[in-house]
């Protein structure tokens, strides 16, 4: 069975710093999707970034980028120039395309950006 592990329950950094959230996963599949979702305090969960396993190029979305290491089964999220609005729970998730669109979720990392 696939599993997703986020080893950092909580992190805090100063505003404008760069922070990296770690995620590892376990699968025997070759083709799959990986996601980072963000859940701000008292607000809705939203997608931050998505990576397709067959694409070697790391996905980027403005200040958010991933370091996808397929052989190591690692999928870390880097947030550059962190802002107060980045304070949130961040969840890593895995999808097997044959799984009826079901996501396997990590436990989450609580990220606090300090002014």
């Amino acid at each position: 069975a696939q599993t997703v592990t986020q080893s950092q329950p909580e992190m805090s950094v100063q505003e404008a710093e760069t922070v990296t959230l770690s995620c590892t996963y376990d699968t025997s599949e070759n083709n799959y999707y990986l996601f980072w979702y963000k859940q701000p305090p008292s607000r809705q969960m939203i997608l931050v970034i998505r990576q397709e396993a067959y694409k070697q190029q790391n996905a980027t979305e403005n200040r958010f980028s991933v370091n996808f290491q397929k052989a190591a089964k690692s999928f870390s999220l880097k947030i550059s120039d962190s802002q107060l609005g980045d304070t949130a729970m961040y969840f890593c998730a895995f999808m097997n395309p044959d799984s009826n669109y079901q996501l396997i979720w990590g436990a989450g990392t609580k990220l606090i950006i300090k002014p």
């Binding site: 997703v4 969960m45 999808m95 669109y101 079901q102 996501l103 436990a107």
Partner: protein
């Protein structure tokens, strides 16, 4: 923008009550999901529906049932609420078709069972 709404943000119920949580999406998505979110456990899938009147059990379906009579609406039912069902409940929807589709979430319902 996709909008997913849930009927209540906060709900307090007593043990043994029947509880209905409703979710509505306005983007004609085929897939709808109910998750339970608990600290340190991430999100766990309760039920999933890929079409009207179709449902599949997720990882933790015990004590729950669902109903999808219309495409835009997906209801979660706690037949007889228990204190261990105190949790945050999240609804999500997504397009069918290509894999890797984004799931869009509602604001969540925080349920307290006394």
């Amino acid at each position: 923008d996709v909008k997913v709404t849930q009927s209540s943000r906060y709900l307090v119920k007593r043990t043994g009550e029947k509880v209905f949580l409703e979710c509505v999406q306005d983007m004609d998505h085929e897939n709808m999901f109910w998750y339970r979110q608990d600290p340190g456990l991430g999100l766990r899938l309760i039920y999933f529906s890929y079409d009207v009147k179709m449902k599949e059990k997720g990882d933790i379906p015990e004590g729950y049932s669902v109903s999808r009579e219309k495409k835009e609406r997906f209801s979660l039912i706690l037949e007889s609420a228990s204190t261990n069902q105190t949790s945050m409940y999240l609804c999500a929807s997504s397009l069918a078709g290509a894999a890797g589709e984004t799931q869009y979430f509602g604001p969540g319902t925080r349920l307290l069972v006394l």
